[in-house]
Amino acid sequence: MNRLWWALGALVALLVLNVVVTPSFFSIRMQDGHLYGSVIDILKNGAPTLLIALGMTLVIATRGIDLSVGAVVAIAAAVTCEYIATSSDPGSASTALVGMAISLGLCLVLGLWNGFLVAVLRIQPIVATLVLMTAGRGIAMLVTDGQIITVNNETYRSVGAGFVLLPLAILISVAVLALVAVATRKTALGLLIEAVGVNPEASRLAGVQSRTIIWTVYVFAALCAGVAGLMISSNVSAADANNAGLWIEMDAILAVVIGGTSLAGGRYSLTGTLLGALVIQTLTTTVYTAGIAPEITLVFKAVVVVVVILFQSPKVQALFRRRPKRPVAEVLKPQEVAS
């Protein structure tokens, strides 16, 4: 719980800063049955990052990492747009649905591939997913032939730019968040994932199907990346194999880490990831509204990450505690146990 406070603190500080700069920051207005406002914008633009960060949280909880999600975003976007653009009826709803289904199916296969490398061949996750990270963008460019493909399909557009009172992208991300929360916290799944992350060998000996668990989280991460890819490309009705989802894997990893989940695996926090994703997106938006060149956002991102990480590190936490905790061996002295 302690670790969440730093992420929450960073978020509140950013929000306060925004209100000071733009007093109308929190105002939300209703127009044509849609809600608009800065806060809604932050949530909408942060939706793909949040979605990918959710998948990443579970992967990191198993002591893994998935560098390939950005490439998967590009592939999902490329495949869907290519399918819609080359079909006989590029404007129809069914074309869009089939295109999205095909590309999510492909993402499932890509997740299985990552899972195979990590769970079966037991390759370090960072290298295993580096393969798809490098090759993936090449594959996406192969699909689009190096061009930016634009599509004109209302159904597809609604995934990233549609509204049901709130932008659809927000609703999708929140739905996935709720789904993951229920699936991992109301069943034993979350515990099993953490067990694999704490000690894969011990959990295997204890009867946890660690191979299946690892496989599942990589497939889930790839599917999240696929949906995020659909959101990103449908928002602009185009697929750019070079730039779609560029560095989003880094943003997602930062969101997870700011949220207090350790890269060493084990305990994870979905609330933390939500906060982390919000911190990153709010920061980006703040820099935009403050009139600073968007490229310089990276400097602020680096500073926020360093500050949050340092405060979360055990050594700094120890400085804050007035009395250091007594080591376990001292607490359980033999004579005390005997008495």
Binding site: Q124, L130, T134, L263, A293, L298, V299, A302
Partner: protein
Amino acid sequence: MATLSVSKVPSRHLPVVATFALFVLTFGAGSVSFENFASGQVFANLFIDNAHLIVLAVGMTFVILTGGIDLSVGSVLALSTMIAAAGVKAGWPVPLVIVVVLLTGSVLGLLMGLMIHKFDVQPFIVTLAGMFLARGLCFVISIESISIKDKGYRALGMDRIALGGGVSITNNVLIAVAVLLAAMYVLHLTRFGRTVYALGGSEPSARLMGLKVGFTKVGVYVVSGFCSSLAGLVFSFYTASGYGLHAVGMELEAIAAVVIGGTLLAGGSGYVLGSVVGALVLGTIQTIISFDGTLNSWWTKIVIGALLLAFIVLHRLIVRRSSA
């Protein structure tokens, strides 16, 4: 019988031998397919065009040997080109520019190393923050690219050194070779270098042996930061410009060169020479694709991905065999 001759090679040398074989194979494939490929100048151009990658890969090897990773190298390279270009434009003397650039890279490396060691934060996250910081600082200097017009500075990059037989190289090649030799000396013949290997083998053991674990751990990031800024200078000689979007994703190419070069990402095993050959393999693939003319640039990425996979699986098999 074939297996017998292979098994004579110690298994720790096997990945490097495989990398050499791969290099000969790709260069040979190029030579067979294209008429003018097998010339001394094409070979020399591999070094000229990839000098910066070689320098980056050498620095990255130090970090990866300790079991760490440095994601900031591409951004630090870009920042270095930017500082160099802005400095030259402001009329600083060239030696001062070079010193400032190398100091910036080394200090960034030092700060990242200290954060990793003193605060127990994973190298991945710290160097990711470093990557964002360096890339962002480029744009603080200028959003646009800055071309270098100083004649003396440009001469450093353009001057050709004839090797005879019509083959010539640039200063950059000399820098890259010097870095390689220095790195080989440091890794194999100094206390620091041996500690790097020990640290990658097992940190607790290295600590129990009384080795300077902290110093070495911070030191490899300083080495990598220094190499990145040197690679930045090399790159600015090569392109005569500074730009915040130079070398985007170059850290992945450097990591790929190290992995293809036979260094284990878990640390403790590998050679800088392998990384350099790894970088040359990547360069050869690019040369083949540009010679061909009909293949598109994205094939480079797909081929690099496939090679990475092949070498990772090879490592797995070797590790499994030697532990069995």
